[in-house]
């Protein structure tokens, strides 16, 4: 039977039973709508989190003291020795092939004081390279100057929140502040980065790493960020870093290298699994929708018994009878699925626009949803359709 004829028969049936058609589709609409909505939220979250992670560049390799590849107690606590990471380690790594930046840094907190104001904030000690590593530029003024870490003058760069708080309405450049009791000259204010994974990047003061170490009475740094020249250079940079650090640490591998790419991969994987789990739950809705179609079609076959007998008397083959009912199931679920896509994508968009939720409707969800809708509908339609096709025409015609 040509598709056009099938379509004609379908429309005539569905049009006269608008309410029933609508209610039958509702299950699939809701099921598919929630699949699209939830996958939009899942994908949006994944992209949002990844974007926050990767805004610092995905070619960063972190060097942490201690060997922490396995579970258990922290490094150095049982046996073995852990050499601290030093600024000099960082400078040595800077010269490696494939490495374009190295930022040994230390994090602490302290008070930043002007003559009349004080703010307690994060103090971040680092070197000039960090500007490139973190892909973070000053909004005004400049970043820490390059050069021998021991020779850097007492200058600082303020986060925008700190700058606004301490210097409301005035230009902080050239101003003198005291950080942790030490005098610094403000040479720059960073661009606002806002919250990154819940941490306010604008609430900090950046100072030369050696001065921060002195301030916190430390001889080592927390971590060294290496910036590889490119993705392809990451393995080479890591290899070189391992070799150099082992040499410098007396042959011991008492440090850990983590590439940002590895971290991203793990985060990505976790979020994908989460999304898949949520989708599986939404799938239950689709199943309920399918059962709805099956039920309504089953009832429909019963109600239209005489009509099925008639179709056969008029020369419809069993296959054609089956096709008519299958097409009905397929059309109901396909249209329901399409409505679900619109509803889910619209809902996701609204959530993003109104509530600011991270959403991103993946394009592949549309063919997938429509395909699954059609398949589910056809599967639900098989049983009623086969029943219709197998009806004995004589008995069926007598039913009324």
């Amino acid at each position: 039977m040509p598709l056009g004829d099938l379509w004609g028969l379908l429309l005539e049936t569905l049009r006269t039973q608008r309410l029933r058609t609508f209610l039958t589709m509702l299950g699939i609409v809701i099921g598919m709508g929630s699949v699209v909505l939830l996958s939009s939220i899942g994908e949006g979250t994944r992209q949002g989190v990844l974007a926050q992670f990767s805004q610092f560049g995905s070619t960063i390799v972190g060097v942490q003291p201690g060997k922490v590849k396995t579970f258990g107690v922290g490094p150095g606590s049982i046996g073995g020795t852990t050499h601290p990471l030093t600024v000099e380690d960082g400078l040595a790594l800077r010269r490696l092939p494939g490495v374009v930046g190295s930022a040994p840094h230390i994090v602490g907190s302290g008070e930043v004081e002007t003559n009349d104001r004080t703010r307690f904030t994060l103090v971040y000690g680092t070197v000039a390279d960090d500007r490139r590593v973190l892909r973070w530029e000053p909004r005004i003024g400049s970043f820490l100057p390059d050069g021998d870490p021991d020779q850097i003058p007492a200058v600082c760069v303020l986060g925008s929140t700190v700058a606004n708080d301490l210097f409301p309405g005035s230009n902080p450049l050239g101003a003198r502040v005291r950080i942790g009791g030490t005098r610094f000259t403000v040479v720059g204010v960073m661009q606002s980065k806002g919250q990154v994974l819940g941490f306010d990047m604008d609430d900090l003061a950046i100072v030369p790493v050696k001065r921060a170490m002195r301030m916190f009475n430390r001889v080592d740094v927390n971590e060294i960020h290496l910036l590889a020249a490119s993705h392809e250079m990451i393995p080479r940079a890591m290899e070189g870093a391992t070799r150099v650090l082992r040499e410098r640490h007396g042959g011991e591998e008492d440090f850990t290298l983590t590439s940002q790419a590895d971290v991203l991969e793990v985060v990505d994987e976790v979020l994908r699994v989460m999304t898949a789990g949520v989708l599986a739950i939404a799938g239950i809705g689709v199943l309920v929708g399918a059962i709805g179609i099956l039920t309504i079609l089953w009832v429909g076959v019963h109600e239209r018994t005489a009509e099925i007998g008639l179709m056969k008397a008029l020369g419809a083959s069993d296959g054609q009878v089956m096709l008519v009912f299958l097409a009905e199931a397929g059309a109901l679920s396909l249209v329901g699925g399409a409505a679900g896509v619109l509803l889910g994508a619209g809902g996701a968009w609204a959530l993003g626009a109104v509530a600011g939720v991270w959403v991103s409707t993946p394009v592949w969800i549309i063919p997938l949803t429509l395909g699954v809708s059609l398949a589910v509908g056809l599967a639900a339609g098989v049983v009623p359709a086969v029943r219709a096709a197998r009806l004995d025409p004589v008995g069926a015609l007598r039913a009324e």
Binding site: A306, L310, G315
Partner: protein, 232 residues
Amino acid sequence: MTEPGAPAPEGEPIIRLRALRREYRMGSQPVPALDGVDLDVPRGELLVLMGASGSGKSTLLNIIGCLDQPTSGSYGLEGREVTTLPEPDRVRIRREKVGFIFQTFHLVPRMTALRNVELPMVFAGVEPRERRQRASETLEAVGLAHRVAHRPPELSGGERQRVAIARALAMRPPILLADEPTGNLDSKTGEEIVRILIDLNARGQTLLVVTHSEELAKIGHRILRMKDGKFL
């Protein structure tokens, strides 16, 4: 409608039944609905089957229309044995060789008169353009040219049966099977239908009519009475 039937035509029978039996199982006991029926229907005959309910006349009509299968015996249609045919061929017979007219019309209420008449041609795969053309011609032939766009609930009983006749004729089948075609109609409307049937037969249409109306029976070239699955 009391017109006497013309003399029965002769020649090679279009329908030829021999020792036809149809049994239904009621529990373990087989109950015969047809108990060895022999029948020859020449082309162009208007044959009337009469009998009480359960006499087997509807079963006979259903077997001739390939809606039902005999338990045993032989059924030849245009010289071809039908009982041994596979299902696709039986479907083709329903499509092309017979047209059914029912007591309760069996129109699809959500379709227009035109679409109802088109329906058998849809299953037969006739092109939409040709289908529409033929459907409206056939409706015109039964006097319903002005009703093509109406749906059955908007039509009178007589009009509905005329749509049903047009539908039975749509595929131009050599045999028309009518099961109590006036059973649901008042006598005046019934008369219209009978006139159409006589008219069709006069133009050569082979026609089998099942009825228990003596009045309608008079139109037949031949009246066969059935009881307990046999001809009297």
